[in-house]
């Protein structure tokens, strides 16, 4: 099993090197630095004093993004915007796969060294789960290489389809997030998604917060959020479920901003989720999930017609990675 994991890491490294080398740097130079880069880490903020923890976390995540940007710029100087984001995503998946391998190897060797049967048994029992995660990360590396939409991009796909169908006008691009405006059933609708078709998640929270505070005429009366959500075993992939609350799976900062702003302005949030497994979320989008997009649009129309009035303004935020999905 450890060898299989090692092979996956090796293959993902090879893919990464071949992709990076096609944008300027020599294979030798990239190979020299790649091992060090694959051990890149992020230290989460102190949580014992929770005051301002999300602000600190956001700062750390911004710095991480900036660092990835720099790394790719150094290793692939001739890369363009879309491919750059895909390479950043590839690097993230390769780092996750490498960490999983190192952790598994650590416990396997520690169990062997200390002759601890319990440690080895625990690892043995965890192996099916570890393999699933490892295969998912490996598939992610491959899909980011090709620029294929992934399961997590369902929210972005829904908004992208709405932009096309309603001939929405793109009003602004901020923080790698696009804001488009359109009219649906005589309601002003503001559509939000991450900038595509590169692998980007944007900052939907920041945009929603800004729109709620600046949009006065008419005021925003409802927020509809669409995202992929983890299904439980036995549930069907691509199933659509409705609820309330901020449907966004970020580490916290963006979700917090949406909740804060919606509470401050008293705007209800509707959540539409599309169920999928963790592997599906980071692997190329399956047919079941892609076909759910049209059903989600029907639900959105239902919500708009039944829960808002003519002349209202509504925000529709499609959350998720926009790889392979333009606007």
């Amino acid at each position: 099993m450890l060898r299989r994991l090692e092979n996956m890491v090796k293959k993902s490294k090879e893919i990464l090197i071949s992709q990076l080398s096609s944008f300027g740097s020599s294979v030798h130079e990239i190979s020299r630095r790649i091992d060090e880069i694959l051990e890149f880490f992020v230290i989460p903020p102190v949580e014992r004093d929770p005051f301002g923890v999300l602000r600190r976390l956001e700062h750390i995540l911004d710095t991480e993004r900036e660092r990835f940007h720099q790394i790719i710029r150094t290793l692939a100087p001739k890369v363009n915007g879309i491919k750059m984001r895909n390479l950043e995503n590839m690097l993230e998946a390769a780092i996750a796969l490498n960490s999983l391998y190192r952790l598994t190897r650590h416990y396997a060797l520690l169990g062997r060294r200390t002759k601890s049967v319990f440690m080895i048994m625990q690892l043995e029992m965890m192996l099916p789960q570890i393999t699933r995660f490892a295969e998912a990360y490996y598939n992610a590396v491959v899909s980011f290489k090709d620029g294929v939409p992934i399961g997590d991009g369902i929210g972005a796909l829904v908004v992208s389809k709405l932009i096309r169908r309603t001939n929405a006008v793109i009003k602004a691009i901020k923080n790698n997030t696009i804001i488009a405006e359109t009219k649906i059933m005589n309601r002003k609708v503001l559509l939000i998604k991450a900038l595509g078709p590169g692998g980007e998640i944007g900052k939907p929270g920041t945009i929603v917060e800004e729109l709620l505070s600046t949009y006065k005429n008419p005021r925003i009366s409802r927020i509809i959020m669409i995202d992929a959500a983890q299904k439980l075993e036995g549930e069907k992939s691509g199933e659509i479920v409705e609820g309330v609350g901020a449907a966004i799976g970020d580490p916290g900062p963006e979700k917090m901003k949406i909740e804060e702003a919606a509470t401050r302005y008293g705007v209800p949030i509707d959540a539409i989720i599309v169920k999928e497994s963790f592997e599906e979320a980071i692997s190329p989008m399956t047919r079941e999930i892609a076909e759910a997009a049209d059903k989600v649009i029907e639900r959105i129309y239902d919500i708009i017609s039944s829960r808002t009035k003519e002349g209202d303004a509504v925000i529709i935020a499609g959350i998720g990675n926009s790889i392979g999905i333009a606007q």
Partner: protein, 116 residues
């Protein structure tokens, strides 16, 4: 790719036989009993072929990627086309003009194989 696999397979078999013969000559410096030579050659061949077959199966399994499908639609009529994914494809990319005069764009990209 196929040629490389065949060359590798022949190389593995020949190397296995050579190693066996070298070991035999080291074990029996005078004269090697013929029965033992035959038996060990057969065993070596079986082991080499089995290991090659297992390796090939593993390689085949690893290289089996799900088929990526692209759905192209016209923005004016009901035209719909299904084709394989090409590098550089993305959703909402304009890929040409329809016979009705409308624009052809990529509506969906997905894989057929279901993730386990």
């Amino acid at each position: 790719m196929k040629m490389t696999a065949i060359v590798m397979a022949i190389f593995t078999i020949l190397t296995s036989i050579l190693i066996t013969l070298l070991l035999l000559s080291a074990t029996f410096p005078e004269e090697v009993p013929k029965d033992i030579v035959k038996l060990l050659t057969v065993v070596t061949l079986v082991i080499a072929i089995t290991s090659i077959a297992l390796q090939q199966r593993e390689l085949k399994r690893a290289s089996k990627e799900p088929k990526k499908i692209v759905i192209i639609r016209c923005d004016k009529c009901s035209y719909r086309l299904e084709r394989s994914f090409k590098e550089g494809d993305y959703i909402l990319k304009t890929v040409g003009q329809c016979s009705c005069g409308g624009l052809l764009y990529i509506d969906s990209i997905y894989v057929e194989k279901k993730v386990k």
